[in-house]
Symmetry: C2
Subunit: 445 residues, 2 copies
C-alpha cells in the first residue's frame, strides 16, 4: 500500500500545528490515546482491528523531498520548518490492545507516546486505519454469531468505499471468523482463502442455461464448482443441473454448490434441497447471497433454511447500520502533566491509562477497570507493548491468524447476553479511584 | 493510485468466468451498463461521479507477470489461460454520462462495449469506483443545498473507509460545490483548495489557552488563521481572543475565523458573534464543525445562526444515511443479441440503451426517456463517448472543474421540488416504446 503510506495523507491542520510546535520548540513527550466514546446502539462489544496497518505506517513514516517541495508551494510553510519536516520520523512508543481484543466504551485501544510533533502528525491516518477495521470486524462478527457455524464469505468489494476499504474489509472479516473473500488482491496480500462462484452475465451470455452450466463445469476443478441458479427460474435451473448430472457421460458436472441470489431465499433453499436430495445430489450444498446481513442470516437460520453458506457483501463492508464509530485520539499527557478536554458533552478522562480485565471462575469476562497506566490492578492488562523507539516490540508473524484466534477465544469468554444481536445490558467498566481522583483534582485547578 | 490499479483488485469469479470464456472462445462484443435501481429514500436525484478514475483504470488495465504467477499458485487456472490473461488489455468503447450529470432510477450512467472477457473482468472495480463517488457527490450536494452559499469544507478523512475513500470523497464533494478539503494528499492530487484549523490537542498541550492562541497566530499567515475556541469554555475563549487583539502590540493576532466544535452551535455562534462585534472583531468569521450533515446545517440556517462556514466530515464521507447504492452492472447485449435478467425482483430492461433529457421553456429539466441506443428521441442524449478502442475519446483536462461546473448547472435546472432534502414526487422517467416492445418480445420467447 505504498501510496496509501504517503505522509501527506493527513489533515492540513496537523502540519500547521507542527509548524507552530517547531517554532515554539515544543518537543516534549506526549501521550495520545484512541478510544470509542459511545457505541452504536447495536454493538454490545467492539473488536480492536487495524493495529498491523498502523505499525506498518509508523515504521515507514516520513515526508519525501517531493512532498516537502509541494508543501512549500502552498505558501503556508517556512523553509526551516520544511527542512525539519523532511527529517521527521516516528521514533515513539506504542502500546495497544492486540488485534481481535474485545473492548468497551471509553477504553483506550492504543496509546502513542512520542515527542509531541510525532505523536500528533500521525493522528489522522491512525484513526482512519483503526476505526475502519475495528468497525468491520465488529460488524462481521455479528454474522458469525448469527450463522452458527455456516460458511461465510466476504462478497463486498464492489460496494466497499474504494480499494483500500475492500482490501481491509476482507482482512477484518476474515479475522472475525469469515471463511474467506472473493477479493483476489486481498487473498494475495493477506493470504486469505478465496471463494468464487459465477455471475448472471455468464448465464445470460449463453443462449441456453443448461449449456452455460455444462461449459462452466468443464472449466474448473469439480471441487470448486458453484452454479448460480436464479438468472431466470431458480427451481427450473436446479432441475437442469440434476438432469445434467444424471444423464450423459459427465457425472463430474455435478456442482459442489448451487448459489441462490434473489427471491425468497428460505423457501427456495428448502425446495432446492428437496429437489437435489431426490435427484441424487445430496452432496450438493446450497449457498445464498443477495442483500444479506446478520439479521437476514438469523431469520433464515431460525426458519431452518437448509443453507450451508452465505455470501455477505454490501452491508458488511459498509457496516451499513453503523458506518462510523464515535472515536477520538486525545492528548492525555504532555511534558509529564496529564491533560483533559472539557468541551461540553465531549469531556475526557485525563492521563495515561491502562485497561485491566477480570474473568470469573468459568473463564468468562467479568468486568474491566480503566486505570492509570502505572497503577496496579487485578486482572489482565489489555494494552501491551507494540512498538518502542519506532521499532516493533516483537517480530510480527501470522498476525492475522493470531487475531482470528483471539476473536474466537474472546467470543467464547464473552458474557452470553453480549453475544445477542440485540442491545444487551452493558458490560461492567469501572474507573479506578486514582483516575477519578486525578480528574477531580484537575477540575479544581 | 498505482497499487489500487492492480488487475487483481477484482472478484475471483471474474477470473474463473474469463477462463471459461477463453475455453469456449467466447469473445464476441458485449455491452454492459451500470445503473441504480432503487434510490435511497432521501435522494431525489443522484450525481454521476467517478468516470475519470474508471477511465484511468481501463487505460492502464493489465495483469503483470507477478499477478499471473500468483494466480497459477492458486491451482484454479490453466497455463494457456494465464498466457492469454497476461496479454489481456482493455480495448473497448465506453459511453457515459459526464461527471456531474444528475440522473434517476434505472438510467444507465455508463455503457461498456468490448469483447466479452474485457467487458466482464473490469466489472468489480468499475462498480467500486463509480458507486462510491456517485454516492458521495450525491450526499455532498445536499449540504450545498442546505448551506445556501456558506463555505463548506470536507473534514472527513479520519473516518473515511480507508485512504482511497478519503481521497475520492474529497474529490466528489469538491465537485458537488464544497470549497475544499482538509486532506492534504487530495489537495495535491486533485488540485483542490486546502483548509485547516487547529486541534484541541494544540490548546491542551499549552498550559494557558491565551498563550496557545498567541503562539499559533505567530506561526501562520494571518489570512489563514483559525482559532478553535471550545476546548474549555467557548465564550471565555472568544473573550481571550478579543483581549489579545485589542491590547498589546500585535493586532495581527486577530484571527480571520474562530471555530466552534461542540455544544449548542447555534447559540454559541450567536453569543460569539455578539462578543466579536462588540469587541471590534466584526471581520472575524465563525466556522462550525462537529457531527454536521445537511440536516444539522439546515436547522442552523433556519435558526439564523451567524455561521459563515461548516466543516462536514464523518456523515459526508460515509454517506451515513445511505452508505451504498443499489447499483448493478448488467449484460445488455452479447453477440448482437439483447440480453435480460429475469430474477424475481431484479428483472432488468434489455438491450443497449440511451437516456434522452428534455428541458422546459425556462431551461428546467422536464423529463427523461430511457430508449434503445440507436433510437432517435427528442432531447439531449446523456451518454456521450468517453473511450473508443481503449483510448480516450477526447483529451481530458480540468475534468474536476468541469464536473463542478456541470453540477452547478444541473442544480440550476433541477425542478425545485427535487432540491428539497425531503423525499419529493418523482421526476418523470419514461421507457420508450421500442424498449418496451423489445422487453415484451423477449418475454414471449
Amino acid at each position: 500500500m505504498s501510496q496509501q503510506q504517503s505522509a501527506l495523507l493527513t489533515d492540513l491542520y496537523q502540519l500547521t500545528m507542527l509548524q507552530a510546535y517547531f517554532l515554539e520548540g515544543m518537543e516534549e513527550p506526549a501521550s495520545f490515546e484512541l478510544f470509542v466514546r459511545k457505541f452504536p446502539s447495536h454493538r454490545n462489544f467492539l473488536l480492536a482491528m487495524g493495529l498491523e496497518q498502523v505499525l506498518e505506517y509508523l515504521e515507514t513514516f516520513g515526508f519525501t523531498e517531493n512532498d516537502c517541495a509541494w508543501l512549500e508551494s502552498t505558501g503556508l510553510f517556512r523553509p526551516d520548518f520544511l527542512d525539519y519536516l523532511s527529517a521527521l520520523r516516528f521514533e515513539g512508543d506504542v502500546d495497544a490492545m492486540p488485534e481481535g481484543t474485545a473492548f468497551f466504551p471509553d477504553e483506550p485501544i492504543i496509546r502513542v507516546t512520542a515527542p509531541l510533533p510525532q505523536a500528533q502528525v500521525i493522528e489522522t491516518r491512525l484513526i482512519n486505519l483503526l476505526q475502519f477495521q475495528t468497525m468491520i470486524a465488529s460488524k462481521a462478527v455479528r454474522s458469525v454469531l448469527a450463522a452458527a457455524g455456516r460458511i461465510l464469505v466476504d462478497f463486498g468489494m464492489r460496494r466497499a468505499h474504494g480499494a483500500e476499504a475492500a482490501l481491509l474489509a476482507a482482512r477484518a472479516s476474515y479475522a472475525a471468523g469469515f471463511a474467506g473473500t472473493s477479493n483476489v488482491l486481498a487473498g494475495q496480500w493477506f493470504d486469505i482463502p478465496l471463494f468464487g462462484t459465477m455471475a448472471h452475465s455468464y448465464i445470460m451470455a449463453h443462449d441456453d442455461e443448461t449449456e452455460a452450466f455444462a461449459r462452466f463445469a468443464t472449466s474448473l476443478p469439480a471441487e470448486r464448482l458453484v452454479l448460480l441458479v436464479d438468472t431466470y427460474d431458480t427451481l427450473e435451473a436446479v432441475r437442469k443441473i440434476i438432469g445434467m448430472a444424471s444423464d450423459g457421460p459427465k457425472p463430474s458436472a455435478a456442482p459442489r454448490w448451487i448459489r441462490l441470489d434473489s427471491g425468497d431465499l428460505g423457501a427456495l433453499a428448502a425446495d432446492s434441497r428437496k429437489l437435489l436430495d431426490d435427484g441424487n445430489l445430496a452432496g450438493c450444498r446450497i449457498f445464498a447471497s443477495g442483500d444479506l446481513d446478520e439479521y437476514a442470516i438469523r431469520a433464515l437460520m431460525a426458519a431452518g433454511a437448509p443453507i450451508d453458506g452465505f455470501g455477505v457483501g454490501t452491508r458488511l463492508v459498509t457496516s451499513d447500520d453503523a458506518p462510523f464509530l464515535n472515536c477520538a485520539y486525545k492528548l492525555q499527557e504532555y511534558a509529564g502533566k496529564p491533560r483533559r478536554k472539557r468541551s461540553r458533552g465531549k469531556a475526557t478522562w485525563p492521563g495515561r491509562r491502562q485497561v485491566f480485565r477480570q474473568h470469573d471462575g468459568q473463564g468468562r469476562m467479568a468486568g474491566d477497570v480503566i486505570a492509570l497506566a502505572d497503577e496496579l490492578q487485578p486482572g489482565e492488562a489489555l494494552l501491551q507493548p507494540a512498538m518502542r523507539h519506532g521499532k516493533p516490540w516483537a517480530p510480527r508473524a501470522n498476525v492475522l491468524d493470531a487475531a482470528r484466534q483471539r476473536i474466537a477465544d474472546h467470543l467464547a469468554c464473552l458474557p452470553e447476553r453480549l453475544q445477542s444481536l440485540e442491545p444487551a445490558r452493558l458490560y461492567r467498566v469501572e474507573i479506578s479511584e486514582s483516575l477519578r481522583n486525578l480528574a477531580a483534582c484537575m477540575e479544581r485547578v
